[in-house]
């Protein structure tokens, strides 16, 4: 970790939901630090608290303990500090693609005309030209995700959280979208925290992969990925890639039975 302040730092963040029989620990204290401009993934089985972490970082959920720091400033429980793309694209059906994309700016009181002027060239550059004035209902799944992602990017925060953005897409579209996302990431230089179920996707995209375990949700291993960028599809055949993939799969498999946290190594 660099000596400078991390862009996003979650410090001993935990979450316990009250239940009739005491409390349900959704998230054991987790510490997570992401330097500026990094692409970091979380993988793990369902119910490992990935979405809970996201909701806490986005300020939509007050953690039971711990703090969230953005640029070293306490941002626990404050909304509008990070871009958050939920699993569903949540495009508003009564707005055109363009007006959906400018939603974040509009909420931040950017005049509508200025917001549209900023968004239009980006729509053109990132594969949505010709769709600007269409309604989301006439878009394919991949196009809808592009629009949703651009909406998140145009919200103009340094950190963006992507919660399984490509989970519902077919394999072919998913690959295209990964390339597209890489392009976007290198153009905008955002700090990205990415959740996925797909091990290969996580390794291919990330600088670091955190593998999570369940009951309670926690990080069981953090694996840096040193593959050179820009990566190619064939990177997935590199020995290092395969080693990491094997390790991730093992961790996820072991994780089916309860086990003690394993320290990072690679």
């Amino acid at each position: 970790m660099s000596l400078t302040v991390a862009k996003l730092h979650a410090e001993n963040v935990s979450m316990t939901f009250p239940t009739p029989s005491g409390g349900f620990a959704a998230l054991a204290p987790i510490t997570l630090s992401i330097p500026q401009g990094r692409f970091v993934s979380l993988i793990g089985p369902s119910g490992c608290g990935k979405s809970t972490i996201f909701n806490i970082i986005a300020g939509l959920l007050e953690p039971t303990s711990g703090r969230v720091l953005i640029d070293g400033v306490d941002a626990t429980g404050t909304i509008g500090r990070v871009g958050y793309m939920l699993q569903k694209d949540l495009l508003l059906p009564w707005r055109t693609v363009l007006d959906n994309v400018v939603l974040g700016m509009e909420i931040q009181s950017v005049p509508l005309r200025a917001a549209r002027e900023r968004a239009l060239p980006l729509l053109h550059r990132y594969g949505l030209s010709g769709f600007e004035y269409l309604y989301p209902s006439s878009l394919s799944g991949g196009m809808r995700q592009r629009a949703a992602l651009l909406r998140t990017l145009l919200f103009d925060t340094d950190v963006i959280l992507l919660d399984e953005p490509f989970g519902a897409l077919d394999a072919q579209t998913k690959l295209q979208m990964q390339e597209w996302l890489m392009q976007l990431w290198s153009d905008f230089g955002k700090t990205v925290l990415f959740v996925t179920h797909d091990v290969e996707e996580a390794i291919y995209l990330s600088d670091e992969v955190h593998v999570m375990g369940t009951r309670p949700g926690r990080i069981i291993a953090s694996i840096p990925v040193h593959l050179p960028r820009p990566r190619r599809r064939t990177s997935a055949l590199a020995p290092e890639f395969l080693t990491i993939k094997e390790r991730c799969l093992e961790l996820l498999d072991v994780n089916l039975a309860p086990s003690a946290p394993v320290n990072a190594a690679a």
């Binding site: 300020g59 939509l60 909304i79 509008g80 939920l86 949540l90 509009e106």
Partner: protein
């Protein structure tokens, strides 16, 4: 028949034995065609519809003239037509139509608007919604027309009492429907807005209201009918003008032809308003995509 997936040889043999010898060979199934209904051309349909109407009116007139139908109770088409011309030339036709139309429209607009706003207001607080809900359900189950005499006493026999009755009928439907829209809102949509740093007012204006609009629009047609019913009942109870009053007055004075005339005009008014609102609804539907 035995319960088996495929008939065994013995089954087939048994079947063949059971049949008379001459039909030992399986008889060819009768070739049947798919029954197809031919659509009549439009002119034929219209002709048939018009024919029924003309036949009914002619039969009625004929029956009244020959004494088969008691013209005192049922009146007859020629007398009705005569009364109709009088109603529109020297009578109060336009005053009555205008009165009923105004009370219906005002009641419709007020009831729909206030009801929708009331329903939407429940989004702001779950506690407030929980407290108020039993009262709304109570008010919904009351036959509102039973309150009409009270409303007339409070608001007088003028236009305002008819508007109030029409409003009472429409407001609950709109409230409940708008509230149903609020309840159908996807919590993730709100999450998205909040993650973008939205205020509650922004969520309300940019998400809740546009999302619930289709619900609000869907009750317009129901409400125009209810508002007309409310206005007419108000006029029945106490009024100086209106088609409802004309019907009541004509009935009490045994002017059956005038009853028919007023009912006819009222029906026309109802159809026109219904068609207008349906058109408005489809226009609005095109405007708000869901």
């Amino acid at each position: 028949m035995t319960v088996q997936d495929t008939p065994t040889l013995r089954d087939i043999a048994a079947l063949q034995q059971a049949r008379p010898a001459e039909s030992a060979k399986p008889a060819a199934r009768p070739a049947r065609r798919l029954p197809v209904q031919k659509d009549w051309p439009v002119w034929a349909l219209v002709l048939a519809q018009a024919g029924i109407l003309v036949a009914a009116i002619a039969g009625w007139e004929l029956g009244a003239r020959t004494g088969l139908v008691d013209a005192f109770f049922w009146s007859q088409p020629s007398a009705i037509f005569h009364t109709l011309t009088i109603f529109f030339t020297t009578g109060d036709a336009w005053t009555d139509i205008g009165f009923t139309f105004r009370s219906t429209i005002f009641g419709f607009l007020l009831g729909t608007t206030l009801g929708s706003l009331f329903g939407l207001s429940f989004w702001w607080s779950r506690n407030y919604a929980a407290v108020v809900q039993p009262y709304i359900i109570c008010f919904e189950s009351i036959p509102k027309l039973a309150l009409a005499p009270l409303i007339i006493l409070v608001f007088g026999i003028g236009l305002s009492s008819k508007v109030a009755i029409a409003m009472a009928l429409t407001i609950v439907v709109s409230t409940l429907t708008a509230y149903a829209g609020v309840k159908a809102l996807d919590p993730d949509g709100e999450k998205l807005f909040y993650s973008l740093g939205a205020t509650r007012m922004q969520v309300f204006r940019k998400l809740v209201v546009p999302f619930c609009l289709p619900w609000i629009i869907s009750v317009l047609r129901v409400n125009i009918g209810l508002a007309l019913t409310g206005a007419i009942v108000g006029e029945f109870i106490a009024s100086q003008h209106g088609l409802g009053r004309a019907i009541l007055y004509a009935g009490q004075t045994y002017d059956i032809a005038l009853v028919w005339v007023a009912v006819l005009v009222l029906s026309t008014l109802a159809v026109v308003m219904y068609a207008t609102v349906s058109w408005l609804e489809s226009m609005l539907r095109k405007g708000v995509r869901q």
